[in-house]
Amino acid sequence: ATGCSTKSSNDATGTSGDDASTGTSSGPVELKDGSSVKLALIPGGAHPYFQPWKTTAEQDKTDFKLGGVTFNETGEWDQGKQNNVINSLAAQGYNAFGIFGVSPTDINSTFEDLKSKGFAVGSLASCPAGDTNSADFCLSTDVEAAAYKATKATIEAIGGEGTIVHLTGNNVDSNTQRRIAGVKKAIAETNGKVTELPVITDIDKDLQTAQKAVADLLASKGKEIKGIVTTAYNPAVAAADGVASSKLPIKVVAIDDDAKILSGIKSGGVAATVTQNPVGQAYVGGWLLALLGSKQCTMKTPGVIVDSGSFVVTKANVDTYDAERKAKTTELQKDFAAQLSCK
């Protein structure tokens, strides 16, 4: 019987009854041998959000001495294509997969396929729709919570009163539905002080569509609106720009921390943005997948869902929020250690 070697193995609180021991809550589990693990990080398609994954994947490789890593965005936002990419990678020897499923309602089937072939699978940055998660774990932003936080930030920026509007992406995506719910929840809590115009969906396909929708909105309703909360990339860029050029006193709260949006925060064009934790997802996810893929550990409760955190960034903390995010990442690793049972 092999004991579990952790950084703080003297801490005995995590020892369980069976012959495997768990990691502890005070530190991450040490990976013994990553060389058998070939890790694939697979976003849904090309999107600025996933760009940190690319560098983090390399980080994973050096930190955990993995046998190989790849970052493959050729799924092009089509579940069928993404499944093909995953299968092709599997055929080439990749055995641990961190996946952003294109279609939250379909991705469990993909996870099940991979699991049945003995691969380690993590759902990253998005969890399957519904109550079950067939991957080993899901490490993702709680989109409803993020939308809720963004709305809270918007309400705060407009002084707690007035009309706001929510701009978002594909209406028939379960994540969008969750975002809409998050926004509604925050507004409901104001007891009618803040009202919401009908949500504008389906404008994330391209920048011009978003820009046109924003311009039309500002032209027809610009005087009523006090705040705009966006939960998709192109609408965020378009709203920041549209409001700035219309010179209306409207507060825009954006999503993510693409360079374009951060510069908006700094210049004051964007009141706040809610950033997520892509680095944390890729790093902690990669570490977990390595542990699972090398068969060193298993999840105590397969399919556990963990929030990777979302952070409100304003002009005040625009230079420091990354530290907060890094702290969260370390904490995530610790939390997960408690969820593992390792050899």
């Binding site: 965005e73 050729t74 069928g80 093909n84 729709a129 594909n170 379960s174």
Partner: protein
């Protein structure tokens, strides 16, 4: 049979020394046949990819999903081919698939239908919506491009309304028994005695085979198929030959809708759930397969095999590039270029065969 033409007239008409008019086509050498050209291309590219990446022949992880894809897109191509046969287009193939799967989804979710009963309901819905498009075209005489485009927008509006109204996640996730098996099972799960099929061939492909056989049979053997092709060649001449062209227009679009529904079902089974975005990716492949395979955009000539091979060509190229690890920066560039080069060589063969004094159809 009583001959309407008497011996004397026949004798007058048959001039013994009148020249026989040679067909312009003459004899086409086998290597100039478009279908065979495609087959050679597909095989050669597969071999090339196989040499570069032996994993290309991995039965479960590469060939199985590849065949599943080819099967589905072949059905999509057949759906477009049916309307191309009468010289029309169906820009709403994808949305028709989404619409019929929506009905199927409702039948699973709300009425607890079995897998195949739901499929049947979907096929009927697809047929109906296709027939509707055909009916509008036949009645108004408006270009099929415009009618199906408008219908596409209409359904694009309707479908999300239904999904957001009926479901929480904008998808029907109820899986009737058998769906998971259909997704994963291959011929290896079909055994006669001790002999089992290949694990590389997905069972889902049987739908494509059935569709190809039925559609192929309709076009080659039945009156309906012939009348469709005649309508495609010349509506005027068809009408003046007693073919009910309006009804044939409706039939062609109904067939298209039905096949679109089948393709939607195959997509739903192979990805996992029934959602509003089903079929969004169908439009371009639906044209690509048949047209690469020799089906005429103008109508009047189709090829079921060609549709399969055209679809296979694009799927194989994409799969090969996947395996070669071509990143998104280069993937589409290579995809487009290979397609162009492959087709230019095809064209080159035709020219070469023309030089030899024959001309391909």
């Amino acid at each position: 049979m009583s001959a309407p033409v008497s011996e004397t007239a026949t004798a007058a008409l048959q001039e013994p020394d009148a020249p026989v008019e040679q067909p312009r086509g003459g004899r086409t050498p086998w290597w100039a046949n478009q279908r065979i050209g495609l087959l050679i291309l597909v095989v050669a590219l597969s071999a090339l990819f196989g040499i570069l990446r032996p994993a290309f022949f991995n039965q479960q992880l590469v060939v199985f999903p590849l065949l599943r894809d080819i099967a589905m897109f072949t059905v999509v191509g057949l759906a477009q081919m049916c309307v191309l046969s009468i010289g029309h287009m169906n820009l709403a193939v994808g949305r028709m698939a989404a619409f019929s799967m929506m009905i199927t989804g409702i039948s699973y979710d709300l009425w607890h239908f079995s897998l195949y009963a739901g499929l049947l309901v979907g096929l009927v819905a697809g047929t109906a919506i296709g027939a509707l498009a055909g009916w509008v075209i036949a009645r108004t005489g408006v270009n099929s491009f415009v009618v199906t485009l408008a219908l596409d927008f209409l359904l694009l509006g309707l479908i999300p309304l239904v999904y957001t109204g009926l479901t929480d996640n904008a998808a029907f996730v109820t899986k009737p028994p058998g769906m998971r098996e259909l997704r994963n099972y291959s011929l290896a799960d079909v055994c006669i005695g001790n002999v089992c099929g290949s694990p590389a061939v997905p069972q889902l492909a049987m739908f494509a085979v059935i569709a190809m056989v039925v559609v192929g049979w309709i076009y080659s053997r039945t009156k309906l198929g012939r009348e469709l092709l005649m309508t495609g060649t010349s509506v005027k001449a068809a009408e003046l030959s007693g073919i009910p062209t309006a009804r044939r227009v409706i039939t062609a679009h109904a067939m298209s809708g039905c096949l679109a529904a089948l393709a939607g079902f195959m997509l739903a089974v192979s990805t996992g759930s029934i959602k509003a975005t089903i079929g969004e990716e169908f439009m371009l492949p639906s044209f690509l397969g048949p047209i690469l395979g020799g089906t005429l955009l103008a109508g009047g000539f189709i090829s079921v095999w060609g549709t399969l091979l055209g679809t296979a060509l694009t799927s194989v190229i994409r799969k090969g590039l996947d395996l070669l690890g071509v990143g998104l920066e280069s993937l589409n560039i290579y995809l487009g270029l290979i397609l162009l080069v492959a087709l230019s060589t095809d064209r080159f063969r035709t020219v070469l065969s023309d030089r030899q004094g024959v001309k391909e159809r």
